[in-house]
Symmetry: C2
Subunit: 358 residues, 2 copies
């Protein structure tokens, strides 16, 4: 079977080895005579999968016991509300750095919950870059500083992180596990799974234990304490999605962990950015060079017509998902962990040939 040249922004390509392993166990998980999603979430067999996913994630990111790793549903979008619900009080202000549409949405949801402030923004510049760390100003009563570590729509990514005296909350939906992290720099990391972690339908939250308060007034399902005190098994979790997540984590370990993954990601991103830089303005990268994302390479061609021609010919050549986000247009190649480097090099060649022919 020929695998598609899948550059989707999310849901996105998954490692072929993961899909094949899941297929092998599909009808008969662990010799149980059942599929994984037919097992009780209270069974030993499922709990082993669930706990293995937590253990793997802890190992890969060197997450200490100061943190809880929990699984939720509703995507990053539900976290936009849960974070202020759980972390913001009437006496404090939620601080947001605006680097794209997703951080903007996160701010809008926080506005419904309590006081907010914009700590820095590159909105006026068209979200071409990440702010300088020194330009980030937090309020004195800041409950936390929220950042979006990678911006899928604009193709920008944080390459260093704020060093502030307040909790740092990061939406890492689109670049978690793409590189090693220093967990000391973070207090809450969250990510919808459908880019680097697995299928859509499960959200991972890594939260410093001291931030978890048992606020009984919150709806039970919107209270982090519910998840941390029940090992994310208060109600039925999305067992199939967590199983696939566990296989993706296993694949990352087998690939050599985050250093190896980062090396590969750097090579993949370089292949495309090199073609953009060598094209003398034929391909116009959206992101400023020092803010470039290794996950989403966004670019335009000289005219809308030429962009449309590029996208049409790329589609014809078998490339999937190269259209920019519907809110900005243009082109975007999403090259998450599971996109094989061979596919990226094929795209770089295609771009070069298209340039030479147009």
């Amino acid at each position: 079977m020929k695998r598609a040249l899948n550059f989707n922004a999310g849901p996105a390509a998954l490692p072929q080895a993961v899909l094949e392993k899941a297929e092998k166990n599909w009808l008969n998980f662990n010799n149980s005579g059942m599929a994984i999603m037919e097992l009780s979430h209270r069974s030993k067999e499922y709990e082993a999968v669930h706990n293995q996913a937590i253990t793997s994630l802890r190992k890969l990111l060197s997450i200490s016991d100061d943190f809880e790793v929990i699984f939720l549903q509703g995507g990053a979008s539900l976290q936009f509300s849960m974070i202020p619900m759980n972390l913001l009080s009437e006496e404090s202000t939620a601080n947001y750095v605006l680097t794209g549409s997703w951080s903007d949405k996160a701010l809008k949801e926080a506005n419904k919950i309590g006081k907010t402030a914009v700590a820095a923004s590159t909105k006026e510049g068209g979200y071409h870059s990440i702010p300088n760390l020194s330009d980030i100003k937090v309020t004195e009563d800041a409950a936390y500083l929220h950042i979006t570590s990678n911006n899928t729509i604009y193709g920008t990514q944080w390459h260093q992180f704020p060093d502030v005296a307040i909790p740092v909350v990061a939406d890492m939906s689109s670049d978690i596990l793409s590189r090693p992290l220093n967990m000391d720099q973070f207090d809450l990391i969250y990510a919808g799974a459908q880019k680097n972690l697995g299928p859509s339908g499960v959200t991972v939250v890594i939260i410093r234990k001291e931030l978890i308060k048992d606020n009984g007034k919150l709806p039970t399902m919107l209270n982090y304490h519910t998840y941390s005190s029940n090992n994310s098994l208060y109600n039925t979790p999305p067992t199939l999605a967590i199983y696939l997540l566990s296989l993706v984590l296993e694949w990352v370990e087998e690939t050599g962990g985050l250093e190896a993954i980062q090396k590969e990601n750097t090579e993949k991103a370089h292949a495309l950015y090199a073609e953009i830089d060598e094209s003398n303005g034929f391909y116009i990268g959206h992101a400023e060079k020092n803010s470039r994302s290794q996950m989403n390479v966004t670019f335009n061609l000289a005219s809308e017509q030429l962009s449309a021609k590029f996208l049409a010919e790329a589609k014809h050549a078998g490339f999937v998902g190269l259209n920019g986000h519907r809110s900005v247009g243009g082109c975007r190649a999403s090259i998450y962990n599971a996109v094989p480097k061979e596919h990226v090099h094929e795209l770089a060649s295609f771009m070069k040939n298209f340039r030479l022919n147009n």
Copy 2:
């Protein structure tokens, strides 16, 4: 491969035909070179699956255009909060009928949102039955009446529904699609998928359009309007779970629809209740006869020791999931749509033999 004798309460058995179809398409959905969960949720291929699931559900339940069919995450437990958030005002009271642990939890969550009242309860009797319809008393300012159509833990089920002048909200997580419904009797039906609809990780809400208000103060992801105005595609839905749901719905259609499913369910439930009734008190059914569930058959044996012996021997004989809920103990056979009648008859035979030998 021998399929397990799976009587799990949820996540539960899925139709073998559904698992096999998913397996066949696993690595290469629709000749796309991608798995279903690698497709963009904005692609035509995925949207066709998404819309087919909605169309099938509308057809099976004869849902008119007066209703929206939406897909959410978070299970029925999140609906316990979303329902009062969306339907309750400061001037109205949420009315609940208590028939078991789940309706009790639904009430507790509503208490955090606004005013509530208990319209009827069988808690004092130990949740052995469903109240008489004539015993249900709603407040004058009732926003809605909430019922739990089937009670998995206690093994009771509503066999007729309240005829009241206020919206009727029903948690049908454990018996949706087990029998035909008259949708005129309902205004909001919700169900976590993991019993009769598919894997865990997707929740179905069928809501009368006139109940949907665009309350901008609500968190976006907790507002039904977000889902109804975006065809449940505001953010990334759990695409794999919805795909499996669509296959389960197709299977129900192919099985002959809800009349055929009901006939089979009646036969399956009868096989077990007949053994209980013929056992002269060896097996003691928890539910009163006129409140018996066709989905969850709950019973005890004369002593805890005998129950434990029964469960141990059943497990040894290959039966899975017969333990009662951890909150009540005893025995429970969950016989949702996908549990083959042959498996139920095997269990009935096992129960008879165990009785004759003990």
